[in-house]
Subunit: 250 residues, 2 copies
Amino acid sequence: MNVSSKIDSYEVKVEPFHVDFRGRMFLGILGNHMLNAAGRHSHRRGWGITELNEAHHTWVLSRLSIEMNEMPQQYETVRIDTWVEGVMRLFTHRNFAILRPDGTPYGYARSVWAMIDMETRKPCDLLQLYNGDILNYVVSEEENVCPIEGHSRLRLKEPQLCRSIDTYYSDVDINGHINSIKYIEHILDLFPRQRFEQQSIRRFEIAYKTEAYLGDRLDFYIQQEDEDTVDVEVRKSDGEVACQARVQFR
Amino acid sequence: MNVSSKIDSYEVKVEPFHVDFRGRMFLGILGNHMLNAAGRHSHRRGWGITELNEAHHTWVLSRLSIEMNEMPQQYETVRIDTWVEGVMRLFTHRNFAILRPDGTPYGYARSVWAMIDMETRKPCDLLQLYNGDILNYVVSEEENVCPIEGHSRLRLKEPQLCRSIDTYYSDVDINGHINSIKYIEHILDLFPRQRFEQQSIRRFEIAYKTEAYLGDRLDFYIQQEDEDTVDVEVRKSDGEVACQARVQFR
């Protein structure tokens, strides 16, 4: 198979209710579009959620790092390319290019996914499953470059409690878990209006640790790394970490 | 012009992150799709936001009533038909049919819109604007039926404070106003998980009164009408009513 047959492109239009007060697409909306692109790319190759669920397996998003030169504006058309860069025993690396119709980049993203058995909740060995079929879809870094840094190791030493929120009906997905996109929204909501007036998000990283459920109270701890960088840790009321994030402004 | 040329159809697919824990599309997401359909229908006829903004006019959603037999499920395809049912001096009535690909209805919706002058914030006379051109797009109730009741008159006598929330970055639209869809989300979030486990929404109505802004604290007052019906009033901290809604379960 040639490289182009392993990369899928999806076009989306930036809708009016999907932009912030500056007319720029919300990062959570972009994340949602990327996860949809990932789902469709997998589905077309027989590795989609529908196919996997029959075998009692499912994909779990573990990490997502997005780096943007510029956020798309209302009514613009955005092309999302996605491909698998690598497969390890327990994880796949999936990349994204977020492009203008002329092919110039708005930005790029990297993600890490595990596949779990839905009954045991334990990870599966991706290299053994379906005789390692997934390796057929790998596009190496040489074949299609994703020119952004890998995921950071976030270590929050003395984070300060910034906000606590209760979670409700709109926060959870079909599995009853707080959905990956809602975490992004709640994290960005920690920043005041002025921040978004003066700066834009250069890079956003998130690492999902354990599931939280409808009704869980979430505590948002923050730690300022430097003038433009804030680390966030989201904890459940028992102290367990639901996710960690790094938000870098420019 | 014949009737079919005045009705537009838009197809959407129900995305994974757009369904609730029962696998049914969130009502707010459906609302968003309807507002997009309305925007595109207007745009095609020279009455879109882009065109109007040049004349310093804009559409403002005043009322929305949605009645559903069933909510679409994950991965289903939904067709949204939209048309203008009537034009009065200060308001237009726009209807929606929410259909399966085979044309059978999931449900229907009615909406009321005003056009305002962006500088004075005063309503425009729709019958005079562009020599009453908008009348060319009216589809009467006889030509295409919208078989649901009109908007109710909501009168909350002694509502009780149910929840207060602060509003953040993700709550506001390009105008800096709390966005119409977010109100729907926040209102449905007032109900506990069990309600959605045992019942589904038969009808949802909302009447937008005054704009609220990023940072405004919103108080949600509720009044139980009957076992299945709850009225909600959202007030700003100065007591002014931002919107009123009626949620009817089945």
